[in-house]
Symmetry: C2
Subunit: 318 residues, 2 copies
Amino acid sequence: MKTVLVLLPVREEHKQILEQAGEGCCFVYERFQTVTEEQVQQAQIIIGCADPGQIHGSEKLEWLQLHSAGADPYLVPGVLGPKTVLTNATGAYGKAVSEHALALTLMMQKQLYLYRDNQRKNRWHDEGKVSSPSSSTVLVMGLGDIGLSYARKMKDLGATVIGVKRRPAVCPEEVDELVTTEQLDEVLPRADVVASFLPGNGQTRHIFNAERFGQMKPGAIFVNCGRGGAVDSEALLKALRDGPLASAAVDVTEIEPLPADSPLWEQENLMITPHVAGWLHLPEILDRVVEISAANLRAYLQGGDLRNVVDFATGYRK
Amino acid sequence: MKTVLVLLPVREEHKQILEQAGEGCCFVYERFQTVTEEQVQQAQIIIGCADPGQIHGSEKLEWLQLHSAGADPYLVPGVLGPKTVLTNATGAYGKAVSEHALALTLMMQKQLYLYRDNQRKNRWHDEGKVSSPSSSTVLVMGLGDIGLSYARKMKDLGATVIGVKRRPAVCPEEVDELVTTEQLDEVLPRADVVASFLPGNGQTRHIFNAERFGQMKPGAIFVNCGRGGAVDSEALLKALRDGPLASAAVDVTEIEPLPADSPLWEQENLMITPHVAGWLHLPEILDRVVEISAANLRAYLQGGDLRNVVDFATGYRK
């Protein structure tokens, strides 16, 4: 009998869905905050992002179903055994994160961050011209579920969308023009908005560096709702201070939580949210994570194919 | 030969469009800030919102083409002679104001106003659950060009839209359900977002009063990008302090500029922008105003029908 450790804040109806899918298993429900290393080490199956430190060296763990889309902490050598299967929750976050990214984009285009600052000084002051999604060219880096949802929303508002993918592919309907990462430098100067949904891994690390920011259009807006490691913070700060960026909005930073003495906090034309675009901020995300986990649990026990298997080499789905 | 006084910050290409439409007229270009009462009193035709005090008692003015959608200051008895035709610029603002209203709505749904405040204190702090346009019922008051554009955007994001119109009409495609103002009290308790694009006039004054706010759903968000007079500020403040509102965002206030000692400034769950949703904040608005003005000028000189004629009795288009 396999032990399934569930580290999600599930409700009764979620438990029913999981237990139906995993008939015959022994279910243990725990919180991230209170689960013990022993509980983690006893589980054959874990659903939810257990602490990599607690997983480390587990001899029993056969399969880990993450509740996140990003898998980077679990790709570090030694965390998972060579035979452990790793699946992520791609598909659960598209709506929530793309809505957050849209809200941030419009906040910067309409200068609402400045109006909020002025309000805190009881100041009725016109900050001048704004920009419109309808006359913007938007470059979207990372065209998974989240990036495509964001592209669709910007396109509905009239934007021209350039998508960037690692490998050549058929242009999806959410995107007007598709290029590969090799062509990034050619398209960057055309974009009024550059939005990143890239995961954190060796390939994406500091992909937005001083050179890339330097190529951006004067007055461009940069948005990051992927992972903070894709951005060189020093270079971002410089591009916000000296141009070419008009402003930027990030939900993720290189170090999280962002230290209180980071100069990023003080940069007026930067908007920071504390990695809140996804996870449990929108209740339906949990429903989707449970749905994905239950489908995978059923498949796993019946020897079928799992969805969202993470490729250890790239950090992406296989 | 008629004198056309143009009070818009036009560029050369705009002048050409206007002068082609008004062949044979004498064009005078001035700024609001510098135009004299004598210049205003000499004009048969004025394009742009001249100061009502300077217009008052003009015997020559035949037609006033406003650059705004709202016409309230010109409906005050005595400002315009009984034969003066008044037209507004309905149609020029739909995109800009609806985008601003969408940006404000998402800012409140995603709690970005709180995250901005936290940022100013170098504070990385999770503010908890957010809401989504996709699972929201949105009530739109005022279904002109602006209200319909906003309805369309919210519907594209998955919202269910209830439109409110003064008179029964066929339900436009941007809206899921259409009711009349008499039915407002029945639908108010259902809305997660209540957005007003109402003009300022006797009929709309304080339509959002203590009773109406009291009927709103606990946790609802109120947005006003119409005119400030439609809202009783005291009642709004109370609904933000004691419920049922979660938050509100307004681009307009009863008195503008909002006095520095107004308690509205200090209300944390209220977002204020200083009447900047429209006018020249988006460059293409001026293009649209010139287009509407030129078409009307041509029609006026040829004795044709003008677009956007304002009904003095209601303040709306006839």
